[in-house]
């Protein structure tokens, strides 16, 4: 139902048709297909919307539930985020994209040890591209990011997590990208991404949701179109130890970060990243691995397999996190 509701919240009636028509079959969801059917038959936008919602009220409407904890995608709790929000499935991740910010609101991955090991043997290779399955007025394009004044095209689900060349190329869609401070993207953020991959190899599997936070009355907009986040988060759930927390960083050339609970993140971002987790798990701040600066070794893995847990706790204690 959520996908329909958001498509219907778009301002014009033809947008849902566009959204339903474009993209590969894999990317479409049952909800969108039912939207298209109803829209084709019924002229009334309102009636179509009601039918669409009714037709898709079954749980688990997502076509790519594997990316989400218990198959449940992140939930937008702030209704202002839902305007022109559309969900897209890709091989290695799923995003909810906002036509208001022309960025993703979140990007979700289910990472496994095997996938990360495959990703590590894959050289980086890809090209940034506008997301063709979005209406062009809602999508960022390459020109928007030109002369950005110190902002990189920052992946939310990182290309280095992708297990196949096709998945990696998909990760370069601008629907998976936010304007990210160059100093952050090339340093702290990369270290956080690496530490999460190292953790996946130790833990076997993790669920990760990454996203921007837009705070304040006014925001910078690249080319007047693409909103620049004020903060960026990466929330991680470890189903093995049943704990979840999030890294939170300023979108600035900065090496400081905070760890916050899933509940605190929801209050800040308006997004419940792991709706199916129990509230006691959401309210707890649990330790996450310290960002790993270590270079990946050529032809091998960055090894951190020794006595990791207490080591990370010690590091956190030393850094005051």
């Amino acid at each position: 139902m959520w996908a329909c509701a958001r498509i219907l919240s778009a301002s014009t009636a033809f947008l849902p048709l566009t959204a339903c028509r474009v993209g590969s079959a894999r990317r479409r969801r049952p909800c969108r297909r039912s939207c298209r059917r109803k829209f084709a038959v019924l002229p009334s936008f309102l009636i179509a919307g009601l039918l669409c919602a009714a037709a898709s009220a079954s749980p688990g409407v997502s076509e790519c539930p594997d990316h989400f904890v218990d198959g449940v995608p992140p939930k937008l709790e702030n209704s202002a985020l839902s305007v022109q929000a559309r969900d897209l499935c890709f091989a290695g991740f799923a995003v909810e994209h906002s036509g208001q910010s022309r960025t993703p609101l979140w990007s979700a991955e289910h990472l496994t040890r095997g996938a990360v090991e495959a990703a590590r043997s894959l050289p980086r290779r890809g090209s940034f591209h506008a997301e063709a399955t979005l209406p062009s007025e809602e999508a960022a394009n390459l020109a928007d990011y030109r002369h950005s004044g110190g902002y990189d095209r920052g992946h939310l689900s990182p290309s280095s997590d992708m297990a196949t060349p096709a998945a990696q190329q998909e990760s370069f869609t601008l629907a998976n990208v936010v304007p990210q401070s160059s100093g952050l993207n090339r340093n702290l953020w990369e270290w956080i991404e690496r530490s999460v991959r190292n953790w996946v190899v130790r833990a076997g599997e993790l669920y990760v949701v990454t996203g921007p936070v837009f705070r304040g009355m006014n925001l910078q907009a690249l080319n007047g179109r693409v909103l620049v986040p004020t903060l960026i988060f990466k929330a991680v759930y470890d189903p093995g130890s049943r704990r979840a927390s999030a890294y939170l960083v300023n979108n600035a050339d900065d090496t400081g970060y905070k760890l916050i609970s899933v509940e605190q993140l929801a209050a800040l971002s308006g997004i419940d990243v792991f709706p199916s987790l129990p509230s006691d798990m959401k309210s707890a701040v649990t330790p996450l691995p310290a960002p790993s600066r270590r270079f990946p070794r050529v032809g091998g893995f960055a090894q951190e397999h020794v006595s990791t847990r207490w080591w990370f706790r010690l590091l956190h204690a030393l850094t005051g996190e």
């Binding site: 980086r124 290779r125 940034f128 090339r186 009355m217 690249l222």
Partner: protein
């Protein structure tokens, strides 16, 4: 390497070891870290990097109107109202 043509587009991105290369029309950016080990793997990485840099030098040196410095980049951004402010409930 032949995967990206320096300054040829603003979309291509490749990795050489731990180094990330992002192509652009007005700049090519390299960041990350690279260990060139004294072995065949190191030679391969060194060649890839050399090929990239040689291609960049070729493009720059072939440009007859190459300025001393590109003009300071004017940020292409504007201040807009935040559309995501939580509606009062």
């Amino acid at each position: 390497m032949g995967i990206i043509k320096p300054f040829g587009d603003d979309s291509g991105s490749v990795g050489i070891g731990g180094l990330t290369i992002e192509n652009g029309l007005d700049r090519v950016v390299l960041y990350g870290g690279l260990e060139i080990t004294r072995d065949r793997a190191g030679l391969g990485l060194a060649r890839e990097l050399a090929e990239l840099l040689n291609a960049a030098v070729a493009v720059l040196s072939a440009d007859p109107s190459l300025p001393d410095h590109v003009a300071a980049e004017a940020a292409n951004s504007a201040l807009v109202r935040n559309p995501f402010i939580r509606p009062a409930s």
